[in-house]
Assembly symmetry: C2
Homo-oligomer: 211 residues x 2
Amino acid sequence: MDTSLEIPLSDLPLIGETSGERADAVRNRERILCAARRLFDERGAGCTSMDDVAAAAGVGKGTLFRRFGSRAALASAVLDERERSLQEHFIRGETPLGPGAPAQERLIAFGEAMLDMLEDHAELMVAAGSGGARFVSAPYAVHRLHVTLLLGAADPGCDAEVLAETLLAALSAELFVYLRDVREMPLERMKAGWADLVQRTIPAATASGSF
Amino acid sequence: MDTSLEIPLSDLPLIGETSGERADAVRNRERILCAARRLFDERGAGCTSMDDVAAAAGVGKGTLFRRFGSRAALASAVLDERERSLQEHFIRGETPLGPGAPAQERLIAFGEAMLDMLEDHAELMVAAGSGGARFVSAPYAVHRLHVTLLLGAADPGCDAEVLAETLLAALSAELFVYLRDVREMPLERMKAGWADLVQRTIPAATASGSF
DNA sequence: CACATAACCGGACCGTAGTCCATTTAGTAC
DNA sequence: GTACTAAATGGACTACGGTCCGGTTATGTG
């Protein structure tokens, strides 16, 4: 069983601590993140190569890949703040997204929050999840666990793990981009579709428990 | 509304007809498909580059891309026979996959057939659908229509189009590979998960109509 | 301050998907 | 058979993600 509920992407630099990383390394990470944010925002992720990011950050390509490992990981890092905020909301935030509401309502709210994030950062999320990277990412592990727990609370005895994976598939960035850009589907219809799916999947008005 | 129910991938050379394609073009297409099938089968799609295919087929790289357009399209072409067979079965084949059974049963059978195909050709199907190519492919259009019609038959008045997309997401090749290779989930559990999802989604024992 | 060393740097390099275009060739009309 | 044309060819070329490694620098220690 996967217990990685901690907040992902490691750093969390305790106040004043250097976290063992050399000063130039920290400086370059900031430069890169800053340049990546700017370029992804200005021209879109699809039109920004890793060379572009390295050049804009004033570092070599080797440094860029040493710091972030891959294009998908860089995209994830840029999304990190937003992802943390989402997690904060569904773990400790206000109802119905946070604890307190029935599982079904929380699950609907979770999907709607994901769709909002997709609406804002679709391109970046496609990049972050490309090549199967989505499924092995820390955020996905957290989402999976959250959905699994909600499903288990709403319907004990069901195969919540499998059901969670299949429901999360409906929130994939690639599907979202296709529905929005090719099928020109409005966000509200997608949200309604998600709510409909959830309502069909689990019973209403079951307490979600205390996690 | 998308009406592309015809069998995809065009050729269908009527007996003796040349279909307007030059003889050398036809010969090279066959060579390429043959080489691609062999290489994909021998070393797996992931270890076979387009250069490899071109070299094995004894043609230039330009010819390969002129004939097939992209790596994803080549993979689709290699899968074409199997895909046609699947379509044949769910359109005109025996119950419960084919016409006659209630919509719910047909939908479960459809997912199981898809999972069987994924079990046999996962790598190739990942390649065929990479970069969002899945959603704009002819096979996907056929699957979407099929599922949409089944959902509409089982529950008139629901938003069958959106529901179809979300259900099909659960049958994506990338999810399958992740569940099988990373999570080491047995095929039977995935099939049970699909059946469970469908049973939760639409009511049992509604006739599927006559399409 | 001088030194040792581990961490870091950057850009040359690789393999791959996909494009371009000068050249060749299959089919057609006479 | 010859001449013509549209189609097809193939390999050089580009852009990109990712790796490698010789040179450099920050940092702790004596």
